[in-house]
């Protein structure tokens, strides 16, 4: 545990990528099994401990510390593990057991012993150790280390390609003994059954017209619609079918009618959408389904879904990931020559020049696509976000002016700043109603000014939320506006972010809710 907490403390205070990689490699080489496997799981967010969640520690600290003082502290620090480690006031000998031992004991402990066991650990640990220990249970480490960076460190450590690790990653088993044997040339590469696992997806970069397309030849690319649903991977074989989200979470249970129907031996990549017969509805319609973990038959009938498929990774046992996109598309075309409902082939868009595509992506009366995808025909299927292969060319955003109403501090890196803003517009009754929340789109310098605005113009406090003087107008960019009965304003914005801060604009020049609804929804 000591080595692990030192590692985390060093990582959080290191900004250079190379130094982070060096710290990780150093840790993997100097820490024995299975402890390093536990650390690897923690660093990549794959360590699960069912009995203990963040709330467990919250309850624990509330027994020791006044609840309100805890809330104020948490609000200030913005990191639960750090808040509790600082508030916990005990002897610190720092003689912690090793990580794996600690974990196994926690797993074995009976529910009634668990609490005392953890209190004891918190009591004997130093501040840094407490912080690292609690972080194991509170989700996201927030130390500036991505899973990908950790895998890169593994690749460096074993002198193998990062892609090799990505490809087998989801089939590896905790605590990664076989992986380390392979990386240290003491064992063979772990064998993975392709149909048992999620395969990391290939992702696109946002398109920058001037940079990416000016010299590119349209003939080298395929264009498709960028569907406004959720990305899914369909893994199917003799024993059934599973659906995974973009991050590798299994979502099969939410779509029983779909996995029941799909048959075959393949891994496909596509978009899950609301609707029937290849006729997509809006993301808002899909949202209904996504909210239900175990939908009833009646609910499914009312809210049907289907999948538009645009890529294939494996087909009848063949790994197609190294083939070109054109070759993969051929496989798909032939498979979809017969009806495969509820799966459909995602159509490609014929185009001769970029200007034509530019027009297509902006046809705004349809809410079912968000723009177009442009993919290099010669590109293999590469896990991650490789440069220059796939591009997403989103529709131009829409803009609306609104007035800042409330602000809240951010978390992690932004924990000292009021960086989350609720904004609103006037309704018919001249009452200001919130229409959304935005956290991004401003520069660090602008954030400083916004933060100062909030601190000096606060008129009310509700716990961590500050209500501010209704004087500041911001221009908000958003992708889509839809009707919503969850909000008082009756509308919801998709992906709202700051476009400009209108320090000079008077609030009475902001369009009313009625005007906005007219221009965006009718």
């Amino acid at each position: 545990m000591k080595a692990f907490s030192n590692l985390l403390s060093d990582l959080i205070l290191t900004s250079s990528r190379n130094r982070k990689l060096a710290l990780l490699e150093q840790y993997f080489s100097s820490t024995p099994d299975p402890d390093r496997g536990y650390a690897l799981a923690a660093l990549t967010g794959s360590l699960n401990f069912k009995n203990i969640k963040a709330s467990f520690f919250k309850d624990l600290i509330k027994e020791k510390q006044d609840e309100h003082l805890f809330e104020l502290s948490y609000d200030y620090v913005g990191d639960l593990a750090e808040t509790i480690s600082l508030l916990w006031d005990q002897e610190k000998s720092g003689n912690m057991p090793r990580l794996s031992y600690l974990f196994e004991n926690l797993k074995k402990a009976k529910t009634d012993e668990l609490k005392n066991y953890i209190i004891n650990i918190l009591n004997i640990s130093t501040g840094d150790q407490r912080w690292a220990f609690i972080k194991l249970f509170t989700g996201g480490l927030r130390i500036g280390v991505s899973s990908r960076l950790v895998k890169q460190a593994l690749a460096n450590y074993g002198d193998v390609d990062l892609d090799e690790i990505e490809k087998i990653w989801h089939g590896l088993h905790f605590p990664y003994i076989n992986l380390f044997l392979w990386l240290e040339n003491k064992g063979s590469k772990p064998k993975i059954s392709i149909y048992d696992i999620f395969h990391p997806m290939m992702l696109a970069h946002p398109l920058v017209m001037e940079k990416d397309l000016v010299t590119a030849n349209p003939k080298d690319f395929v264009a498709e619609y960028k569907w406004d649903g959720i990305r899914v991977q369909i893994v199917s074989h003799g024993e059934g079918c599973r659906l995974y989200s973009r991050t590798g979470d299994e979502v099969s249970n939410s779509f029983p009618e779909i996995i029941k129907t799909i048959q075959g031996n393949f891994v496909l990549d596509g978009e899950l959408l609301a609707g029937i017969n290849n006729d997509p509805k809006t993301f808002n319609d899909l949202q209904q389904r996504l909210n239900k973990k175990a939908p009833s038959e009646k609910f499914i009938k009312k809210n049907p879904c289907f999948i538009k498929v645009y890529d294939v990774l494996f087909f009848n046992g063949d790994d197609l990931r190294d083939k070109t996109l054109i070759e993969r598309k051929k496989v798909l075309n032939s498979y979809f020559s017969t009806n495969r409902s509820p799966m459909f082939l995602s159509e490609t868009i014929d185009f001769k020049d970029w200007r034509f595509l530019d027009k297509i992506r902006d046809i705004s009366n349809k809410q079912i696509h968000e723009g177009v995808m442009i993919k290099l025909v010669s590109s293999p299927y590469i896990a991650g976000r490789p440069r220059g292969k796939w591009f997403k060319w989103k529709r131009n955003p829409k803009n609306v002016d609104a007035i800042i109403m409330y602000a809240q501090r951010g978390h992690g890196k932004r924990s000292s700043f009021y960086s989350d803003y609720t904004f609103g517009v006037f309704n018919k009754e001249k009452e200001l109603v919130p229409i959304g929340k935005a956290y991004s789109g401003f520069s660090d310098e602008e954030l400083n000014k916004l933060d100062k605005f909030v601190r000096t113009k606060t008129i009310n406090r509700f716990g961590p939320v500050r209500e501010v003087e209704k004087t500041l107008v911001v221009e908000i960019a958003f992708d889509e506006m839809s009707l919503s009965n969850r909000h008082k304003s009756g509308i919801a914005l998709r992906f709202p972010r700051f476009k400009r801060i209108r320090w000079d604009k008077p609030t009475n020049e902001v369009e009313t809710l009625e005007q906005i609804r007219k221009s965006f929804l009718e």
């Binding site: 205070l13 290191t14 003082l69 104020l72 200030y76 924990s415 601190r455």
Partner: protein, 329 residues
Amino acid sequence: MISIDNKLYIKDIDTYIDPFFPVERAIITHGHADHARAGHKHVLCTPETSEIMKIRYGENCASSFQTIKYGHSVKIGKISVTLYPAGHILGSAQVLLETPKDRIVVTGDYKTILDRHLDPFEVVPCDLLITEATFGLPIFKFNKPEMEIERLLDNISKHRENTFLIGAYSLGKAQRIIWLLREAGFSDDIFVHGSMDKLCDFYQSKGIRLGTLRKATLDNKKDFKGKIIVAPPSALKDRWSRRFENITRCYASGWMQVKQRAKQSQIEIPLVISDHSDWNELTNTIKQTGAQKVWITHGREDALKYWCEKIGIQAEPLSLQHRDERNEL
């Protein structure tokens, strides 16, 4: 009753404490820029504070200075004014305003833990305590500064190829860090940023031994390996710091207690050394003064106000402007 308002203006004697704008009469608690400004007519403060103000703002930064030593009083109208050590920086004082009927103490910035290069903080009993709350949250509990210095020295001995750039306020913190390093037996030359050498000289002239200090100029460029350079926090990311190679950035401040803050500022060695009171010091001081009423000038007022009210002490935040909540890079 003494009439003092939420701008720390004492009507009876037409005097402000630490005003941010030029006034006729001011009592200045200490020489930091958010408390001591140039341009007042008559200034009352400790002798050290007046010297510091003259070093920073020039001989004519006020029309006249009246100085009194710690523990000494002057009578202005009906009110007797006494200055007590605040333990914050050299010359820092708490202000006691006293009539036969009531006692008001304005702490200014203060810390109560023993810091042997300064006069120790004194608890001054009062009815109304006007306190700071820079670190007014229970997460702020500072270790002994010696431990932080030890950690730094340990790091230096392991990485002799690096240059250790320490961000510390030019007045007070910089000298304290250097003094602590000397106390810990660090005898190497220490390099200082141009903005602080006069103030270091001033500390040395008061008998606080800072050892051999050199300017961190390019002429000395070759000598920076494994050495310590002390500079104001703003210089840590400034172009000025680009002249050094293999920099390890350190920052001496109570804010460094929170790792996420250190990370935000890209600090590699946070030194949790504060010239302000931590949570325990703040709450103990309030209890020890016996004050029935507490005003909080600046800082994390919410938590301290809540704590006061919970134990039956009336508390008001003043939210004085210009005393910045965040001391960031």
